[in-house]
Amino acid sequence: MPEVKLAVRNVSKAFRTPTGSLPVLVDQSLNVGDREFLALLGPSGCGKSTLLRIIDGLVQPDSGEVIQDGRNVTGRTGFGKAMVFQTFDLFPWRTVLDNVAFGLEVRGVDRKTRHERARRLIEQVGLAGFERSFPRQLSGGMQQRVGIARALAVDPDILLMDEPFGALDVMTREVLQDELLGIWQQDRKTVVFVTHGVEEALYLADRVVIYSPRPARVCADLTVPFPRPRSEETRWLPAFAEMRREIGEILKQAGKGRP
């Protein structure tokens, strides 16, 4: 494995509910290599999204720490990380341009510079001409393109993606997967991509970590061997189907004996 960019060490998290404490993560550790595309795969609601939010610093773990470039960043957002959310979470009161420029505005970048950069990214995700639109005037796929551009605008070292295509229809999802790969191919960032789609994980990632149902624990850690750049043909490789079947089996085993 290449040099470690991001390490999660012995993280635990439980949520308080009216009926008591619900453990979501118990003593989980994870290493992410520099410029690695890592997929966290698991059934819905297993706690992988919580793990991603802990990595981003949005959620404070009950114990354990998040180390980035050797620095303890537990519970701290920013620091070269940027997140793409499952429900897009664009600001409805900002135009596409100002949504994309949001992270730069937070950093105090002046208006002209941040708009220039935002325009470039909007063009990169194929939304040129929509700079002045408001999010609700766009389709779901277009909104998530804005979400991706917003995250890339701050030029993060680490891109965190929380089931970013989960809310989109199948066609749009595949188009966006290819676009994401295209962008990543040009400028390889460290990516942590949460999904419950086996095929999506295999198609996008260098490595797939598979989680059990809640509380999440690692069932398997697989390296994805398919060559890059990947394309539609990758999905038709016999090895792709074989791996998909294998992962399906692992997930089925992990889900056994649970309600």
């Binding site: 920013g78 959310f85 979470d89 600001f91 009161w93 937070v106 408001f134 609700r136």
Partner: protein, 256 residues
């Protein structure tokens, strides 16, 4: 809002028809009742021109409204931060909730005798009445807005490293904006109500003139005053909505 234009013009036509029918009914009822009891519209319309030109009524209305703006402004200045605080902080919610619910149900008119004892009948009295009539409605509206801010937007802002002040400026304020406009216009309706009531009680300003017109032989001048007040209310609240739409284009969109 999503209606296409022919429907929209049909709506406008229906509204015009509603106004026309009301005016006809007014005219017929007025002629039947006689102007001592209910002056017909034609007479009131003629009177309206006289009242507009008499050089007394409009200045009286203007200065009453200017004075009202002080209490109304104070109501917004206190109500908005208090509403936001209550909506975002559980302790503030609990601490102020009983007082707000008490004050909202308390009639402004019932406060008038007490306020006269406290402030006399001058500027401070009227300002206090308007303030007390406005502030609680602004608090309630802002409170609902502040409570309802989607945590996803707060999360996204925090994820990009926004600090407390930045989050307030870039998320809380725009998310609150529609509620601020609604609160300001509901507050304005209550401020105008309170202004007229206070002035009628102490026979001063526009409200005082209105109260005294009730003693004249014809009801035409009185009905003129009522029409004027209606116009002021409709124009003021409509104007606030328009400003809201201009300042926040996404808001108009959101209601479509």
């Amino acid at each position: 809002m999503a209606e296409s234009s022919p429907f929209r013009s049909a709506g406008r036509l229906g509204s015009l028809a509603g106004i026309a029918i009301a005016l006809v009914v007014w005219e017929v009822a007025g002629r039947a009742a006689g102007s001592a009891r209910f002056a017909p519209f034609s007479e009131v319309a003629r009177e309206f021109l006289t009242v507009l030109g008499d050089g007394l009524t409009l200045p009286a209305l203007g200065s009453s409204l200017l004075q009202m703006l002080v209490g109304y402004g104070a109501g917004l200045a206190v109500g908005v931060p208090l509403g936001v605080l209550m909506g975002r902080q559980a302790w503030a919610d609990r601490a102020f909730q009983p007082w707000v619910s008490m004050m909202v149900v308390t009639s402004t008119a019932a406060l008038v005798p007490l306020l006269i004892v406290l402030f006399g009948t001058g500027f401070w009295f009227r300002t206090a009445v308007v303030f007390l009539a406005t502030v609680w409605y602004v608090v309630i509206t802002t409170y609902q807005g502040a409570r309802g801010i989607d945590p996803r937007y707060l999360g996204a802002a925090r994820s990009f490293g926004a600090g407390g002040w930045q989050t307030f400026r870039m998320v809380h304020l725009p998310a609150l904006f529609p509620y601020l406009i609604t609160g300001a216009s509901v507050g304005l309706v209550h401020a105008i109500r309170a202004m007229v009531m206070a002035e009628m009680y102490v026979l001063i300003g526009f409200g005082g003139r209105l109260q005294q017109t009730g003693l004249s032989i014809s009801t035409a001048p009185l009905l003129c005053y009522l029409l004027l007040l209606m116009l002021v209310g409709v124009v003021a609240t409509g104007g606030l909505r328009w400003i809201g739409g201009r300042l926040a284009p996404w808001y108009e969109e959101a209601r479509a």
